[in-house]
């Protein structure tokens, strides 16, 4: 299926996928002599679930960091809504409506789940330092609004029972969910998930898959995710980019990828020259 960057189409399950929101053009990323990403181009369309897969060390996380603006590629450019994106600070990225979770969970361990989720709203608070300190007028109003948003996400991800529990006491699978909650509460238009299912058992993976689908469905959030588990990726995503040794070796729908010889080789292993 050939689409223009502004075309939209409707998926089999009835979701509307819009035009290109983000485009990676000939990205090359080097750390000293190591080439992590070699001349990769692909795009992300509005409302789709886009997966980046590949064996260990393929450069997936680096790619996600390029998308999130954390790494600046030496060559190539990232187009956001058709315009080249300048180098940005993390909070500027967040203000653009991009949120992410991390492969190694990055929560405030000593704070409760609710407080962690509330930090996702910091960007949306406009009241001054003094107003917040004495908690009057606008600050109070904002806190109530933000708390409501946070509670809606807590409800959505079914973590009400741990609302007041310090994150440090939670098992891994729940921490992952809390991290997703913190990302979601900022109402992102693009959500980047770095191995959302790593280290989970089958049941936790199924739960997480359902949440990812529900987020996409309910909020229309564009999702780019990195994942190891082929089965999960094939079930979840609309389109998949496959990387191996920093190169793109495949790009297409899950069924295209399944039949792609280069991908099969990368996963089953062939001798590299």
């Amino acid at each position: 299926m050939m689409l223009d960057s502004t075309d939209s189409y409707v998926t089999e399950d009835g979701r509307t996928i819009g035009g290109v929101v983000m485009e990676m053009k000939n990205i090359t990323l080097r750390f000293g002599g190591v080439v992590a990403i070699k001349d990769i181009s692909f795009d992300i369309r509005e409302g789709e679930i886009r997966a980046i897969i590949g064996p260990n060390g393929a450069g997936k996380s680096s790619m996600l960091n390029v998308i999130s603006g954390f790494y600046v590629p030496q060559d190539g450019e990232v187009l956001f809504h058709g315009k080249p994106r300048p180098h940005m600070k993390p909070y500027e990225v967040a203000q653009q409506g991009i949120a992410r979770t991390f492969q190694n969970i990055a929560l405030f361990e000593g704070m409760t789940v609710l407080d962690n989720v509330m930090t996702g709203r910091l960007n949306k608070m406009n009241s001054g330092l003094l107003a917040q300190a004495i908690w009057r007028g606008k600050a109070e109003q904002e806190e109530i609004e933000n708390r409501e948003k946070a509670e809606k996400i807590i409800d959505f991800l079914e973590i009400q029972h741990i609302r007041k529990t310090p994150v440090a006491r939670l098992p891994y699978g729940l921490k992952k969910r809390v991290e997703l909650a913190r990302a979601l509460v900022s109402e992102p238009s693009i959500l980047l998930l770095d191995e959302p299912m790593a280290g989970m058992n089958v049941e936790e993976k199924e739960d997480m898959s359902r949440f990812i689908l529900d987020v996409n469905d309910e909020f229309g959030t564009t999702i780019a995710l990195i994942e190891h588990d082929m089965g999960v990726v094939m079930d979840l995503s609309d389109r998949v980019v496959v990387m191996d040794y920093g190169k793109k070796i495949g790009d297409g729908t899950p069924s295209d990828i399944r039949n792609n010889q280069a991908v099969i080789d990368a996963y089953l292993g062939v001798a590299h020259d």
Partner: protein, 657 residues
């Protein structure tokens, strides 16, 4: 027995009670539910508006009088409203267990011929959608939570709030019809149909009339002088008769407030926040809470632990007496007051029992230690005995006459008799109308004079008039030497140990008794942690030699105690094994109300039962398990079978009566 055939003040239906409450207690809270972290509140008049809107909406969908409407979901105000709205339009609500599998639901939906289903969320909608092909009478579904359902085909699917909107829009047009239907309800019209959990065979639909529900609610509310000021927490399955009586019958009769938890997992937090004044829980809940308290005390500082032990010992000594209003020495009273300040009060607060005025437990026997623990804290925990067919109440314990080994005196308006074979029969205004579409079973259970067989064997204690239940009548059998075999009696003794979650005793027609044991993962897991015993799975822990040793000690202690009863001394356990999997309702081994299905377990684990009797030291077995999503898998294990010491019994002296 007082006959009030026309009801009190013409209040002959639940919708009529609702209208009275809206008029009398209009501004008082009727429902609360925690949502978005806040307790949302509905007064009686708000609830009445919501129910009217839904009832009118049901009329716009074409609900006819006499239709059956299934209601599936966890306890939420909206679903309680749905029940009353369904009643208001002359239809019959049929609440279903929300954790039932699609197949189980299909049976019930087909049996009652439900035209409509009101489902809580996507999960329930999916289950019904899966089986609707086989349901000839099913027409439309209403769902509460729209999440994930946006893209579903809405030809026969409606959102709850939209149905209410449609009802409000049609108010002037349909109100006369709603009023007509509401006024047509009388004491004999069906109030609800509840499916029994089915310890044997397929579930049966128990038809309960307005008379059954309202009379029972009236009597039982008066018995404990329940008032409109009570708060209860509605967390037990809506399909269970107890929840229907407590959260609907009694709530509507007295006008008290029903509080719904935020989710299944937040129940304990919500319990603490609400602090109910009237509380019901099956023994298992009390056991779990006690286990949690004890485990946490193990980890407490030595100072706190000593204080806890000291005052708990004192509470055990005088607490129940103080609760029953007996005279206790001034010093003891003072010490108890101090204990209340330092230990009992904070503990009750943690458990959510600070305000409990009346607590009930039923369904299974409760361990005396567990029972006494709560009573010694000053919690007025009582036992009742009942069943769906009786609209719950058969017997209950009056204040001041509470003991762990009886189930109390006949509830007001209930007549009791014991048949020659020991089976307990009762008759009351709460006695069910019939089993739906099952005249044969109805006739088997209820005789023309209205006496209903409980299926339980028991006797009335001389002097006190309290009923004591021995076992299920059909489970009571003889062993090959003629000795009496009452499995439940032994199982209950075993289950009183926190380490043992469930036990199944075999021995009918055999020369000796044997048992399956299920360990309690919380208690045993904690013990393992403290003793540096590593385990990777439930199965591994269950098979650990030291766990087996502990269980063996328990079994042998129980044997000693069983041997003391001359009638039942033959029920001592000679051999036992610890099961490699937890008995589960999803595998059909327990009912949805968590009762053991003895026959099915015996058949499913036939190889294990044989091994218990043929003397083999261990057995390899493979078992099919069902996961929560309905998929099946298989687990295998080699189980060790242990011999337990028994107390020799000289001669069985069974007194003929």
């Amino acid at each position: 027995m007082t006959q009030t055939s026309e009801g009190v003040n013409g209040l002959t239906s639940v919708p009529a009670l609702l209208q009275r409450n809206a008029a009398e207690f209009g501004d008082k809270a009727a429902y609360r539910e925690k949502e978005l972290g806040i307790w949302q509140n509905w007064t009686w008049s708000e609830a009445a508006d919501e129910i009217d809107a839904l009832a009118l909406g049901l009329l716009t969908l074409g609900v006819a009088e006499g239709d059956f409407i299934a209601i599936i979901g966890r306890n939420r105000p909206y679903l309680y409203w749905a029940m009353v709205a369904v009643q208001s339009v002359g239809a019959v609500p049929v609440p279903l267990y929300s954790d039932a599998s699609a197949d189980e639901m299909a049976y019930v939906l087909d049996h009652c011929g439900a035209r409509f289903v009101i489902a809580a969320d996507q999960e329930q909608v999916d289950k019904v959608t899966d089986v609707q092909g086989g349901l000839s009478q099913f027409e439309q579904m209403i769902y509460l939570d729209p999440r994930g359902l946006r893209k579903y085909d809405h030809a026969n699917l409606h959102q709850f709030s939209k149905v209410q909107d449609a009802g409000r829009a049609a108010l002037s047009e349909l109100m006369p019809e709603l009023n007509r239907r509401r006024e047509a309800l009388n004491y004999d019209s069906t109030c609800v149909m509840l499916y029994t959990s089915g310890t044997t065979g397929k579930p049966k639909g128990v038809v309960l009339s307005n008379r059954n529900i309202i009379e029972t609610s009236r009597h039982s509310s008066e018995f404990d002088s329940l008032s409109a000021g009570e708060d209860i927490l509605a967390y037990l399955p809506m399909a269970w008769v107890g929840d229907f009586i407590f959260s609907l019958g009694q709530a509507y009769w007295t006008g008290f407030c029903v509080n719904c938890p935020e989710s299944v997992d937040t129940m304990m937090t919500d319990l603490r926040e609400i602090g109910p004044t009237y509380y019901f829980a099956p023994p298992r809940v009390f056991e779990t809470q006690l286990t949690t308290v004890m485990i946490r005390m193990e980890d407490a500082s030595p100072m706190k632990k000593r204080m806890f032990d000291y005052f708990m010992a004192h509470a055990k000594k005088v607490g129940p007496a103080i609760l029953d209003g007996e005279t206790v020495s001034g010093l003891d009273k003072l010490k108890y007051k101090l204990g209340d300040l330092l230990v009992y009060g904070p503990l009750k607060n943690t458990l959510g029992f600070s305000r409990v005025r009346i607590g009930y437990t039923a369904g299974e026997a409760i361990g005396p230690e567990i029972f006494d623990f709560y009573r010694s804290l000053g919690i007025n925990l009582k036992q009742l005995y009942g069943q769906t067919e009786a609209s719950v109440f058969i017997t209950q314990q009056p204040d001041g006459q509470v003991r762990s080994d009886t189930v109390g005196v006949p509830s007001p308006g209930v007549e009791l008799k014991i048949a020659e074979n020991g089976e307990v029969f009762y008759r009351s205004e709460g006695t069910f109308v019939e089993y739906y579409k099952n005249a044969e079973s109805t006739a088997d259970t209820k005789d023309p004079e209205g006496w209903v067989a409980t299926g339980d064997a028991g006797f009335i204690e001389e002097g006190t008039g309290h009923l004591r239940i021995i076992d299920r009548a059909k489970d009571v059998a003889n062993m090959s030497d003629g000795a009496l075999f009452a499995p439940k009696y032994v199982e209950n003794k075993l289950k009183f140990y926190p380490n043992i979650l469930e036990a199944v005793v075999f021995g009918a027609g055999k020369d000796r008794c044997t048992a399956f044991i299920n360990i309690d993962l919380t208690a045993v897991g904690n013990w393992a942690e403290r003793n540096n015993i590593a385990y990777a799975s439930y199965q591994e822990l269950a098979g650990h030699p030291r766990v087996l040793e502990t269980i063996q000690e328990h079994v042998e202690t129980v044997n000693k105690s069983v041997a003391e009863d001359p009638m039942l001394s033959g029920c001592q356990i000679h051999r036992f094994l610890v099961l490699h999997k937890q008995l589960d309702a999803d595998d059909g081994e327990l009912t949805r109300t968590q009762k053991v299905r003895r026959k099915i377990i015996g058949e499913k684990f036939e190889d294990l039962v044989n091994a218990l009797y043929n003397g083999s030291p261990e057995i390899y077995t493979e078992t099919e398990v069902t996961y929560e999503d309905g998929r099946k898998g298989e687990i295998s294990a080699t189980l060790e079978i242990r011999d337990a010491a028994v107390v020799p019994v000289t001669a069985s002296k069974i007194a003929a009566e």
